[in-house]
């Protein structure tokens, strides 16, 4: 700090270049400060309102727009995915009902065939049973007549052996009577 001998011709600075009291209260400088302040504020205002603020607001709104668009696109994709899922589920449901329908018809066909086969078998069986019954009836009839003839012969032989006389008609009636029991 060098000695200034009243160079600034100011009432606010002493002979050594130091402030007298508060420089803030020195009215000599006020007009200078006010002038340059106004110039500065006008300059700042124009830089801000003409250049900086429109640019920054444009950038911010553009970013906001991009974010909104991206979110909307994401929302679209999400709904598309949901639709795809619904379609997939629908297809699955259809396939399931189709499969169960096929199973149902197959079962019905099989049952029908089975019924026909069983009916046929039953008919066969009843036919065969009837034939067997006829055969059995024939055999029984034969056996009955055979028994009669054998009994007649044995009886006539017995009667002969015992010294009787065989009357064929009586013998037959007796045997018939006995066999009827």
């Amino acid at each position: 700090m060098s000695i200034k001998t009243d160079v600034s011709a100011s009432t606010c600075i002493d002979g050594y270049g130091s402030a007298i009291g508060m420089p803030q209260l020195c009215t000599d400088w006020a007009s200078n400060q006010i002038f340059w302040l106004v110039v500065t504020l006008v300059a700042i205002f124009f830089v801000l309102s003409r250049l900086a603020l429109p640019r920054i607001s444009a950038v911010i709104s553009e970013r906001q727009g991009t974010i909104t668009n991206d979110l909307a696109a994401a929302e679209n994709l999400k709904s598309e995915a949901a639709q795809a899922e619904v379609a997939y589920n629908q297809a699955l449901e259809n396939a399931r009902s189709e499969a169960s329908r096929i199973i149902e018809t197959a079962k019905a066909e099989i049952k029908q065939e089975l019924d026909v086969a069983i009916q046929k078998a039953d008919a066969d069986i009843s036919l065969k049973a009837a034939a067997s019954e006829d055969a059995i009836a024939d055999i029984r009839k034969d056996a009955l007549t055979n028994v009669k003839s054998v009994a007649k012969e044995i009886t006539s032989e017995l009667v002969k052996v015992l010294g009787g006389k065989v009357d064929s008609k009586t013998l037959t009636s007796v045997i018939n009577k006995k066999m009827k029991g």
């Binding site: 400088w29 200078n32 900086a52």
Partner: protein, 254 residues
């Protein structure tokens, strides 16, 4: 310092306090009286604040990147900060006045921070500067209030929610507080800036004494941190009070 000590002045040899010398306005080129048009240190530091503003708000955002760079983030942060303040405090219909408040805020915050540089000159520490801004705010807000609401603007001083008997007294208090606004508005900023810088300077003078100098350095560091905070807070306070006054002008009914 030696020259000072050698002078016949009764000043102490080791400790010479000139905490207010940093606020002296002097011509940048040569010597002579300071006229209103003289290029002074005021001019230099105000011009530097414009340069800083252009660097941050114009050069930094020149890429208009969707994903901002650091410089662009600062510009957008400042924009968003003040814009939100205007919208929240003064209301949606105050948004057209946002560039004016942004101008004040950016000038104050940049001047405050530039003033923190060593050897710099803090333009906002002068009442002449802050008073002009406060008066501009006061006058434009008052004119705006009458232009928007006509005589209805006076209902700002007539508190309809208070008992009728109290209203005249309250009106008197309201009117006084209204006219005190530019005073408190300007002195708050200039006083804060001046006090902090003067305190740092006083601590710096103590650094001349070897024994106290470590403590002095610690104290300067602490004060510097505090002043960094104050620099921002005072700019914020100035801007938010402007928003409050603007809100009163747009909506004078309580």
């Amino acid at each position: 310092m030696t020259q000072m000590a050698s002078s016949a002045d009764a000043k102490d040899e080791g400790l010479v306090f000139h905490p207010m010398d940093q606020f002296i306005v002097e011509p940048l080129f040569g010597a002579g009286p300071v006229h209103w048009y003289t290029v002074t240190n005021v001019t230099l530091w105000m011009a530097l604040s414009v340069v800083a503003l252009i660097l941050i708000m114009v050069v930094g955002t020149s890429k208009r990147a969707l994903v901002p760079s650091r410089a662009q983030s600062i510009g957008e942060l400042a924009y968003g900060f003040v814009h939100k303040m205007v919208e929240d405090v003064a209301g949606k219909d105050a948004v057209p006045y946002f560039p004016y408040i942004m101008t004040l805020f950016m000038f104050i915050v940049l001047s405050n921070f530039l003033g923190l540089l060593p050897m710099s000159f803090t333009t906002t520490s002068h009442i002449a500067v802050t008073a002009v801004m406060a008066m501009v705010v006061f006058l434009s807000v008052t004119i705006l209030g009458f232009a928007k609401n006509g005589v209805g603007f006076l209902s700002l001083f007539w508190i309809s929610s208070a008992p009728l008997a109290l209203r005249p007294a309250l009106a008197l208090i309201e009117i006084i507080s209204y006219f005190v606004r530019p005073v408190s508005h300007s002195i708050r900023l200039a006083g804060n800036m001046m006090a902090g810088h003067a305190v740092i300077k006083v601590f710096a003078a103590f650094a001349g004494v070897a024994l106290i100098s470590p403590l002095s350095v610690v104290a300067i560091t602490a004060m510097y941190a505090l002043e960094t905070l104050v620099s921002f807070i005072q700019a914020y306070v100035f801007a938010i009070l402007t928003c409050v006054y603007l809100k009163d002008a747009l909506h004078p009914h309580h």
